[in-house]
Each structure stands twice: as C-alpha cells, then as structure tokens.
C-alpha cells in the first residue's frame, strides 16, 4: 500500500478512536466530529512513523489542537453553518470549551496514532520505502575538460537532468582556473589558490575523474584515459562533450617553444613570478651593466588581452619590488611588449586600444608594434626588425585547439578545432558535442565564428546541456546564438579599459577607461569568481595590497643556467 494512503487511513482510524469519547459524551456535534476525522487523517499523512514516540506524538498533536481550534471552531464551522466568524475576543471565548476539546483530542490522537502505527507495523510490516530517486537506467554523460565550458556544462546538466543522469567530468587538473585573474598571480597580487576552484568541491553531483584523454572509440562509446597513476582506463558514455580548451601555438618556432614561458596555466604564472624575482636577485649581484639590463628585460610576445594584462601586471610588480634591490638602477628595468600588428588589443575599439597603449607607455612599458618574433636564443630575442637582449620571454601570441583532437576520429577545421553544427553537435555523431576553444562554433544568427573566450564557452555549455536534455526527451535541439556582452582589460595599477555592449542595441557599446573601468573590471570578475570563499580571499588580498607591498618571497628554488646558457629554460621546466 502507498505509504501516504496507509498513513492517512491510520490517521483517520486514530482520529475516530480519539473523537469517539467526545461524541459519546455529547461534547461535540457531528460537523466537528467530521472535521476532526479529516484533520486527523491529514495529520497522519504528514507524520512518518517513529517507534515508541508516544510522548512526541501526544505533544505534537496536542499543540496542533490549538490552531485546529482556530481554523475549524472559530472560522470554518461558523461560516459553514451560516454564522459570522467568531473573530473578536468575546467570540473566541465563546468557543473556549472547543479549544480545550481540541487540545485533548489532539493529545489522544497523538497517542492513538502511535498505537495504530505500531500495530500496523507488527501485523502488516513497515510502510513501503519511498521509491528510489535513482532511475534504473541512468544516462551516462561524460564531459572532457574542466575549464569554464566543462564546469558550466556539468552545472547545467545537474540542474536540467536531476537524478536521471550520471555525469562525469574528466580533467587533467582538479581545479578550474579562473584565467581572467591569472596575470595577477604572475604579478604577485593574488595567491595561486585564490583563483583556482576545486572541481570536486564545486560540483555537487558530478563524478570527477582526474585524467587525460588519449583515445575515444565512438562506435563502442568508450573513452580511454591516462592519469592518476593508471593507463588505459576506460569510461563508457551515452553522450560526450568535448571541452578540452586550447594550448599555446608557437607557430613552428622551435627555439621559442623551448625557451619562452607559456602563459596558460597556474603553474606558468607561478613560474613567471618566481623567475622575475630570480632575475632581480641575480641582477642585484651582477656588476656588468649590460648583463644587468639583460636580466631586467622582460619580453612579452602578443598584444591581445593576455599579453597586455601580463605586461601591465609584470611592469607593476617589477617596479614595486625595485625598492628592495638597492644595487639596481630603475633605468635598467624594461618590460617590452611585442605585437605583430600596428595596434594592441584588437578585440577592443581603436580609442580604447590607443588609451591602453598610451597609459602603459606612461607607466614604463615599451612597445614593439608591427614586429614579429622570429627566433629566440638564451639571452636574446630576435624580432623581424631587430634584436632584444633579454633573459625572459613570455609567449601569449597564439593558441590552438587541444592537439589530442587531431588524433581522434572527429571532423576538424584546418586549425584543428572540432567542426560542430548550429546545435553544437558533431555532424554525423548524434551523441558527441563540442564547445569552447576546441570547437569551431558558428553563431546561428550572425553566421560568424564565435571567439574562443570564456564568455562564449559558458553560453555554449548551457546550449549543449539543453540540447542533450532535448535529445534525451525527443525534443528538437536549440541553435546556438550569443552576442558578446563586452570586453574588459586591465592595463596597469587602477587602470582598465572596458567596452560593454548596449542591451538591445548590439551595434553600440559603452566605453570606459581609467579608474572607473578598473572598478568595473574588479566588480565583474570578483562576482564571476566561483565560490564565496574565493571571493572573500580575493577581496582581502586586494584590500591588503592597498597598504602593503607585494610579496617577493620565492616559492620555487631556481637553479643556474641550463647547458644552453638559459635561465628561462630552467625556470619554465620546474
């Protein structure tokens, strides 16, 4: 028997037994008796049985007698019998006997219901357990990649599919990196753990798997993983989402790949910070001025968001720690940004890009615009229009979809991104989906390629989650369309450029620069940072930074030059 029907029946039975004495003593009329039985039945439904809970049952039901009196004797029964409600104090006092009756009825009901429940349990067994919330057949959905797209897809699927799916997320790191603040870690403004969010803690019902994808058998629907000390682990799926992101693309420059710092991961940011401090330490005891200048020259290749923000952050960091190195001359410090085009920040409007350039120049950053990086040797960076003597080179000039995609039987673009249709499904593979930097997503309305940014990846994740649900429920899939909300870039201490799209007027934008834009940048990104704890940590660090200098403690012990005479090659491989 359904447990609620059983409880209701037992409640009515107990109510009958509890109300009977009142009827026999003519203390209640038939209407009150009927209301009492109904109330008892409803009470029974609400109370799950508990063994030997006589005291609890008596008191709980007696306490319910008071509101029951108010609802039935003061309001309901007078109205049903065509009289006015007994609202005022005198009217209520006229029903005082009913109040006492309801309280005693409640107490009796509680006791009787407990007896009835125990008798029913002895004779008919315990009530039927609630149906398992887990359906017998679970849809297995595997998300490959733990970046913004992957994590948001998992969150949406948790919401959309409830208990009907077993969601797994595979990532080679166990935390989501909040990349908009990565430059602040390199610039020693934030601690690394402030901007990395553990996936295990953040995803409530998603099964997290630490590993790296090595192969996918699309016919058998099996993913092969390496990592966490085991090779060839297999993971079955019904739907798979590729959100593997992108890696740095060195455009075939082998020496640059060997010598330059990458700027994609948390470890990269930590290495850069420690390397910068190391260069200052070495320069401090270097007596040769040209060698000192070489040590204190930092070259950043790429004038996009990542390169500009890193240049701004390193420039602030380097100038900020200068006071601690008494033997150095500020003239020897040089942060240079190399960009192949004639203007930086192509994602922003001309005026904002010009503002950024001007502001960064004022703060001491030098620019080599229209110059391409062609080679790098230890202590020397070769550009298309000259040489820079520098021990530090950071590469932010190009990215490419995760190379593992090329090894899989998936349709890809020449750039190596997975081809997807307007619903973000891979053509001819109905249960394979792709999003983010590893997919070639075309906006269904504008027919233009979507930029590989977190903003788009998050919205693509929502579309994929919706379309998987639609696919499971036999409904039509939704096409992906999203217009950028804008772009934000920090260019230095309390200075930023912000370009926000005007709602409902997508061809127009609002542009801000300077302190106000910087506050917008911080406000937006701290609100986007997942988790209250991280938000508090970041806000605390930012507040402390207003009063105290940045930390120059080295957290990685760096060695001497490698066999080719490069400091950077050692630092970047730690």
């Amino acid at each position: 028997m359904n447990r609620f029907i059983r409880r209701g029946f037992l409640g009515a039975l107990a109510g009958l037994a509890a109300a009977a004495p009142f009827l026999v003593l003519s203390a209640v009329g038939v209407p009150e008796f009927a209301v009492a039985i109904v109330a008892a039945s409803m009470y029974g439904v609400c109370v799950p049985p508990a063994r030997r809970a006589y005291a609890d049952g008596i008191m709980a039901a007696a306490s319910l007698g008071i509101p029951n009196w108010g609802i039935s004797s003061v309001i309901l029964l007078p109205v049903l019998s065509g009289n006015h409600m007994a609202w005022d104090a005198v009217g209520m006092q006229e029903h005082f006997a009913s109040l006492v009756g309801w309280i005693l009825f409640g107490a009796l009901l509680g006791g009787m219901l407990q007896i009835a429940s125990e008798i029913a349990e002895v004779h008919y067994g315990p009530e039927a357990a609630p149906a398992s919330p887990l359906p017998s057949k679970l849809t297995r959905i595997v998300i490959l990649g733990g970046g913004f797209g992957g994590m948001r897809a998992a969150e949406h699927l948790e919401e959309e599919l409830g208990n009907s799916a077993l969601i797994s997320l595979v990532s080679d790191t166990n935390a989501l990196l909040f990349t908009p603040m990565l430059a602040e870690v390199a610039g020693s403004s934030l601690e690394p753990s402030h901007i990395s969010v553990p996936l295990r803690s953040s995803l409530r019902r998603t099964h997290f798997v630490r590993g790296r994808v090595t192969d996918v058998d699309f016919d058998k629907r099996v993913i092969v993983l390496d990592g966490a000390g085991e090779k060839g682990r297999e993971l079955k799926y019904d739907h798979v989402i590729f959100a593997l992101g992108a890696v740095s693309n060195y455009l075939g420059l082998k020496n640059v790949e060997r010598l330059a710092f990458n700027f994609k991961t948390l470890l990269d940011a930590i290495r850069i910070r420690n390397h910068v401090i190391e260069m200052f330490e070495r320069a401090d005891r270097e007596t040769d001025p040209s060698a000192r200048r070489q040590l204190l020259t930092f070259v950043i290749a790429g004038g996009g968001f990542a390169g500009v923000e890193l240049a701004g952050a390193l420039n602030d960091f380097a100038h900020g720690i200068f006071a601690d190195y008494r033997n150095l001359n500020i003239e020897e410090l040089c942060v240079t940004l190399v960009h192949s085009r004639d203007r930086i920040l192509p994602e922003l409007s001309d005026t904002l890009a010009a503002y950024a350039l001007e502001k960064m120049k004022q703060r001491g950053v030098t620019f080599r615009l229209g110059a391409r990086l062609v080679d790098a040797q230890p202590g020397l960076v070769t550009l298309s229009d000259g040489l820079i003597s520098a021990e530090t080179l950071v590469w932010t000039a190009g990215t490419a979809p995760n190379p593992v995609i090329r090894t899989l039987a998936l349709p890809t673009t020449p750039r190596g991104a997975i081809t997807v249709d307007s619903t973000l499904a891979v053509p001819d593979r109905l249960t394979v989906w792709a999003l983010g930097d590893c997919a070639a997503v075309i906006d269904s309305e504008t027919k233009k390629p979507c930029p590989p940014t977190a903003q788009f990846a998050i919205r693509e994740a929502a579309t994929v989650a919706k379309n998987i649900c639609a696919s499971l429920k036999g409904r039509p899939a939704t096409d992906f369309h999203f217009r950028s909300l804008g772009a934000l870039c920090v260019v230095g201490h309390q200075n930023a450029c912000v370009e926000l799209t005007v709602p409902f007027a997508h061809t127009r934008s609002l542009r801000f620069s300077g302190l106000f834009a910087w506050l917008i940048w911080r406000g937006i990104y701290v609100s986007k940072l997942p988790g209250l704890e991280r938000k508090i940590r970041v806000l605390t660090a930012w507040t402390l930074e207003l009063f105290f200098p940045r930390d120059i403690s080295q957290t990685i012990e760096l060695g001497a030059k490698d066999t080719h005479g490069s400091y950077a090659a050692v630092s970047r491989n730690i």
Partner: protein, 481 residues
C-alpha cells in the same frame, strides 16, 4: 524456561520504566502536597492528582527527559496538558460543556495552573531530566560543553538585557525586576537587572544547549523559557523576596500581562543572541577543526533559504490575507487606523509577509524533518510574530508607544489566528521547497550524511515546546481578555 514476567523484570529497560514510575509518583506526590499547602486546598486531592501526574510522566514522558532542560520543557508541557485534562474532568462533574462556564472555571483555576507549573511540572521535569542525563550515555546524546553554555548563555543574557533594558529604561519599565519596588537605588536596580539577565542567559545555555540547533528553535526555546520565567519570577519568586503572600490569581496575572509580553520579547532576543554566540563558538572552535569539516562551507544555503522563505512567506501572506481582511486588520494595522485602502493594505500585507518569510527561511532552516514538524514550527513562528509585530513593533512605529495592556491585546486577538495560519503556510511551503532541494543532495553519500546531521531528529523536546509555547501563548491572552 524462565517465566515471561521474570524475564521482563530483569531487563534494564523495564527496570528503568519501573523506577521512573516510582520516582515520578513520589515527586508528583511531593509537588501535590506543596501545591495544597500554598493554595490551601484539599491535601488528599492535590496529593492524589500530583501522584497521578507524576506516575504518567514517569511512564510516558520521562524517556524523553534526557537532560534537566529537556525535562523542564517536557514537565511544563505535560503539566499544562494535565491542567486541561483536570479542567475538562471538572466540567464533566458539573455536567455541562458550556463555554462560559468552562471559561469561568478555567479563570478560577488559573492559580492551579501556576501551581501545577511551579510545584509539579518544574520539579518533576527537572528531577527526571537530571536522572535521565545520568542514565543515558553521553555518546547517544548531542555533545554538551559547560563552558560554552555559560559563556555564550551569560553573554547572550547580558547583551539581551542591555538591548532590552535600554529600551525598557526609556519606557520607565523594568520587567525583570518588576515588583521589587523596595529597591530605590538606581545602581542596585541596574546591577540586579544584569545579574538576573546573566543568570537567565547562563541557565538558558546550561539547560537547552543540547536541544537548540538554529536561530529559530533558539527563539522558540527563549519563548518557552520566558513563559516559565514569568510564572516563576514575577508571579512567584519576586513576591516571596518581598515577603509578600503568593498571589497566583487571575487579577494578579492580568496586572502582570505587560511584564509577560516584556518577558516574551526578552526571551526572543535572548534566544537569537544566544544562537548567534553559540553558532559563533561552534564555527570558531568546532567546525573550523579539519576533523569536523563538512563538504559545503558557510553561507552555502543562506541565499537559497532567503529565496525559499520569500516565496513561502508570499504564499503564506496570500493564504492568510482573506482572514486578515475578514478580521479588518488589513486597513488598520495593530489596531491603529491607517489611511490604507483594502487593496493597498493587502499589498503592504503581502510585502511584509514576503520579508517576514525571508526571516523564517534564515531562522528556521533545517529544523523540520517532516511536514507536521514544519507546520508546528510555523505555528510557533506565527505566534512569535503576533507578539513582536502587532503587539509591539507596529504600535511603536505608528504611535511611538507600546501598549502591552490586556485590553490592547484583546483587540488584536482576531489577528492572532491570521498570524498562526500565515506561520503554518510559510513553514509548510518552506519545508517543501527545502525538501525538494535536499532530496537532490541526498544522492551523494557525503551530502546525505550532511543532510541527516542538519535535520532535527525525533526525541528532542521540540513537540513539548510547541505545545507549551502555543498553549500558554494563546490561552493566557484568551483567559485574561
């Protein structure tokens, strides 16, 4: 083969029941005797009734009296129920069910109610609770920390006394020391005020630390405790301190109704401040220990609770709206006529309901493990808001004065039912929303364990508290009106 009876007698559980029954019987007899002496009533009747109560308490309720505090609440609630039973029995003897006769009879027996609470419920409950605390192993009870109880409780008592005392000072009314007219020194009055406040707070912590969980239940316990304090303090202890004869009559109670409302508000403030200190202690010294770490951190549920509370409060406002309208309280707030039309009054009512619902969400989350419990906490919440809202805050806001006389409370009695209905609807819907969310979490074994730890288990004195708080909270204004 041993006879069944012999086997039954040898089990520790049956031995405990038998001992509890005997102890209850003896304590009840002693309480009945004391009551008879104080009230100058029939010695035999009072002793027999006391013995009967003690026996029933020992048999039925003593199992739940696992500490002095739990025993006190169970004792008070069961003796209140006993008073209703005796009242009904006396009506049977009179052979009538007429309400006016019963009301007069109840008013005449008000002194018996006070005597039952002070001489029977309190000693029997506390004694059985102490015994229960000794017999029940600590491992099967919530942890108890005496320092935490005294520090958090004492601080809460003093801070509540400071807030409340300042407020009362402005009104020239010190309810905690009401009746001690013999003290003329302002300094001694203030010292006494805070000493009593510390004592109430510390005893609150010592008695109820195991039973309170969140802010809402703390307020509930504060409400129940101060109902008891009103009977034990202004009605009993203060006259004795002044070497005056005890007066538990209706007239004396009517004269102290203002003090009762003051006590209730003090209890609510005490409860919420105690919960704040207690939660802070737990957060700083217990939950911060990595050994006790939970999968989700602080603040995780706060925003959701606010959302659910707002939704539940709005629904509660919708349901209670027609009752408030029928009681003519939508256009006249707290008995004070305003310029609001009915529709504007309804809008204000819904808005206020939504905000109050949000407070329910924050205060009462994780208190209910089934719909009946949720409804009961909702009734208590509604009762609290009747005392806090129309009886205190609204007159203060609208007229700048508080009127805690029974005549003012009588005018507001119709809105009491509206508040109770509002509380029950809010509590029930909040539970449904909370439950729908936690069901998802129960799928994860870590979360499942966390959810089970969050919920109030069966066996705490919560049902006794509901009955005592609702019973006294509704009966007293009704009797005194």
């Amino acid at each position: 083969m041993q006879p069944l009876v012999a086997t039954f007698k040898q089990t520790p559980a049956s031995r405990r029941i038998r001992n509890d029954a005997w102890l209850g019987l003896l304590l009840g007899m002693a309480g009945g005797l004391l009551q008879a002496i104080i009230l100058h009533s029939s010695l035999l009747n009072a002793t027999l009734l006391g013995a009967g109560f003690g026996l029933v308490f020992g048999l039925v309720f003593s199992k739940r009296a696992s500490s002095a505090g739990a025993g006190l609440i169970w004792g008070l609630s069961s003796v209140l129920l006993f008073w209703f039973l005796v009242l009904a029995a006396s009506m049977l003897r009179l052979g009538t069910h007429a309400s006016n006769v019963m009301l007069e009879n109840a008013r005449g027996r008000f002194s018996t109610l006070a005597a039952y609470l002070v001489c029977l419920g309190t000693p029997v409950g506390i004694a059985m609770g102490i015994r229960g605390g000794i017999l029940i192993p600590d491992s099967s009870r919530p942890l108890f920390n005496r320092s935490r109880a005294i520090v958090a409780g004492g601080l809460a008592g003093v801070v509540s006394g400071l807030i409340f005392g300042h407020w009362m000072w402005q009104g020239g009314f010190f309810p905690l020391i009401a009746g001690l007219g013999g003290i003329h020194s302002q300094f001694i009055r203030v010292i006494l005020q805070f000493s009593v406040a510390f004592l109430i707070g510390a005893t609150f912590g010592l008695l109820f630390q195991r039973d309170v969980r969140g802010y809402g239940s703390c307020m509930g316990w504060g409400l129940g405790y101060t109902f008891f304090c009103w009977f034990a303090g202004p009605l009993t202890l203060f006259p004795l301190l002044q070497r005056m004869p005890l007066n538990w009559s209706m007239d004396a109670a009517t004269g102290l109704f203002g003090a009762l409302v003051g006590y209730i508000l003090y209890g609510l403030i005490l409860g919420i401040i105690y919960a704040t200190f207690d939660r802070a202690w737990i957060r700083l010294f217990i939950e911060s220990d990595p050994l006790n770490r939970e999968p989700d951190g602080p603040g995780f549920r706060l925003f959701r609770s606010l959302q659910w509370g707002a939704l539940a409060g709005f629904a509660g406002g919708l349901v209670s709206g027609p009752f408030m309208f029928a009681a003519h309280v939508l256009s006249s707030v707290a008995g004070v006529a305003t310029q609001l039309s009915t529709s504007s009054g309804l809008l204000v009512h819904l808005l206020v309901s939504t905000f109050i619902g949000m407070s329910y969400g924050v205060l009462f989350r994780d208190e209910a493990s089934n719909l009946a419990m949720a409804g009961s906490w909702g009734w208590v919440f509604g009762l609290i808001w009747w005392y806090v809202g129309p009886l205190t805050l609204l007159p203060l806001i609208l007229t700048g004065e508080i009127d805690w006389r029974i005549s003012a409370a009588s005018i507001l009695l119709p809105s009491l039912l509206g508040h109770l209905i509002y509380g029950a609807c809010t509590g029930s819907l909040f539970y449904i929303l909370e439950r729908a969310y936690t069901t998802k979490h129960m799928l994860d074994p870590r979360m499942s364990a966390r959810e089970l730890r969050r919920l109030r288990p069966v066996g705490t004195p919560a049902p006794a508290l509901w009955f005592f708080a609702l019973g006294t909270g509704v009966i007293i204004p009704l009797l005194l009106a």
